[in-house]
């Protein structure tokens, strides 16, 4: 028995033999290639696509059927009494009753009865003959009265669900100071002219000009000062100062010249 080498073509998309494209990971992309070359190896769902549209008349019939279905709206049964709520303002509600005439009730009398019972206003809507409007949220109580006093059968009353809560619109976020200032890593070089709310205390040695002479005068009181002027505002713990002199220039730190730590400008996020 002598065997021969038979060449085989693999699918160019999923690189599997075409019989197993349907079990592979990229079947959706393989479909088109399969349709041309190996239509027998498609999945059964995809094979029938071609047969559907062979008869154009069948296609039209399908569309008509769908349209008819949409037209048929739900018709309300004849004797139903619907009670629903609607809003008048933010907190106030109004109950609406429809469909009472068919049960042989006098609209005026019933509306007056409700007004007396609930001690609130009630009206008949002008446009229609059937609807009564009561001020306030009285839907459940109305049902009881309808059953007991006016003898409306229970199956024919429909209580509609309360309206969904309307969400309050969110207030726009106040400007987040941190966000505005910290864009990236500012290394204390940031914007905070005066915004830094850090903790450092201006040591008040002056402005840190290289020739600090003990820093009297400017920038604080030479001691524990608050870093008047600059330091006080900035309040970062800047090491700053231009010069490298003794002048710590803590006062300046607030400007963000050093490693300010506070909130706002000198605040850093690593």
């Amino acid at each position: 028995m002598s065997l021969t080498l038979q060449p085989i073509k693999y699918c160019p998309i999923c690189k599997l033999p075409p019989d197993y494209c349907a079990f592979g990971p990229k079947y959706n992309q393989c479909k088109e290639w399969l349709k041309e070359n190996y239509p027998q190896y498609l999945k059964e769902e995809d094979k029938t696509d071609n047969e559907q549209f062979l008869n154009p008349e069948d296609q039209l019939d399908q569309e008509e059927n769908e349209k008819e279905k949409k037209k048929i709206k739900k018709k309300v049964p004849f004797n139903q009494v619907t009670i629903s709520l609607s809003k008048r303002g933010k907190k106030k509600f109004v109950t609406i009753i429809e469909g009472l005439e068919k049960h042989g009730l006098d609209l005026k009398a019933t509306s007056k009865f409700f007004a007396v019972k609930f001690s609130c206003g009630s009206n008949i809507l002008k446009g229609s003959d059937d609807t009564i409007v009561i001020q306030g949220k009285k839907n459940e109580e109305v049902v009881e009265h309808l059953i007991n006093k006016f003898h409306v059968p229970k199956n024919q009353i429909k209580l509609e669900k309360a309206n969904k809560k309307i969400k309050k619109p969110k207030k726009q976020n106040q400007k987040n100071r941190n966000q505005v200032q910290n864009q990236g890593n500012t290394m204390g070089r940031g914007r905070g002219r005066g915004r830094g709310r850090g903790r450092g205390r201006g040591r008040g040695r002056g402005r840190g000009s290289g020739n600090s002479s003990g820093g009297r005068g400017r920038g604080g009181t030479g001691g524990r000062g608050r870093g008047r002027g600059r330091g006080g505002r900035g309040r970062g713990r800047g090491r700053g100062g231009r010069g490298r002199g003794r002048g710590r220039g803590r006062g300046r730190g607030g400007r963000g010249r050093g490693r300010g730590r506070g909130r706002g400008s000198s605040y850093q996020k690593y």
């Binding site: 028995m1 065997l3 080498l5 038979q6 085989i8 599997l16 033999p17 019989d19 197993y20 190896y41």
Partner: protein, 180 residues
């Protein structure tokens, strides 16, 4: 077996001709039908290389395509890409379509899946510890290579538990492995 197999460094050596002759002999002994084909598969002018991986796995490579592999001194398994070119090399078991996905994911092949298919078992009984190809019903090409653990008669009788060990299947690590 090769589900999540992705080796980083494969050692490769060229075999000298005395060893090469031994291996060719051993392959022909296991697959007598390959006598005439072996010279076309492994022509003399090209070098046969051996690739070694973990667990004493050896591949036999010609021109950067893997032909056979084996563990230690065990039986030679052909790769699926070879098998698609020589479909009648191995005996065939048939399997239902619903079992293809789990087997491609590395599952063993259960006896119930083999007996479920009408006329799925081969006509001649195959003993245990033999290399076997598995094909889905309605298709032509094989999609896994397995090693039988029981003979066909035992599979019919017992009908419970795993029957064939899954060694190499489509779209696993070996299938996707490329040598440069």
């Amino acid at each position: 077996m090769f589900c999540k197999w992705n080796p980083q460094n494969l050692k490769r050596n060229v075999l000298k001709s005395s060893l090469r002759r031994k291996i060719q002999k051993a392959i022909v002994q296991q697959y007598p039908a390959l006598e005439s084909l072996i010279t076309t598969l492994m022509p003399k002018k090209k070098k046969l290389e051996v690739g070694k991986a973990e667990n004493h796995l050896q591949f036999y490579i010609i021109e950067s395509t893997i032909l056979f592999f084996r563990w230690r001194q065990g039986p030679f398994y052909p790769t699926l890409k070879l098998l698609h070119q020589i479909p009648s090399l191995l005996p065939i078991y048939y399997v239902d379509g619903g079992a293809v996905r789990p087997i491609m994911g590395g599952a063993q092949i259960m006896m119930k899946g083999l007996t479920k298919v009408p006329n799925g078992l081969p006509k001649e009984s195959i003993p245990a510890q033999k290399v076997v190809a598995i094909v889905c019903i309605g298709k032509k090409n094989a999609f896994t290579i397995g090693l039988t653990e029981h003979s066909t008669e035992e599979i019919k009788l017992i009908n419970n538990g795993p029957g064939i060990k899954n060694i190499h299947s489509i779209n696993d690590g070996l299938w996707k492995f490329e040598i440069h």
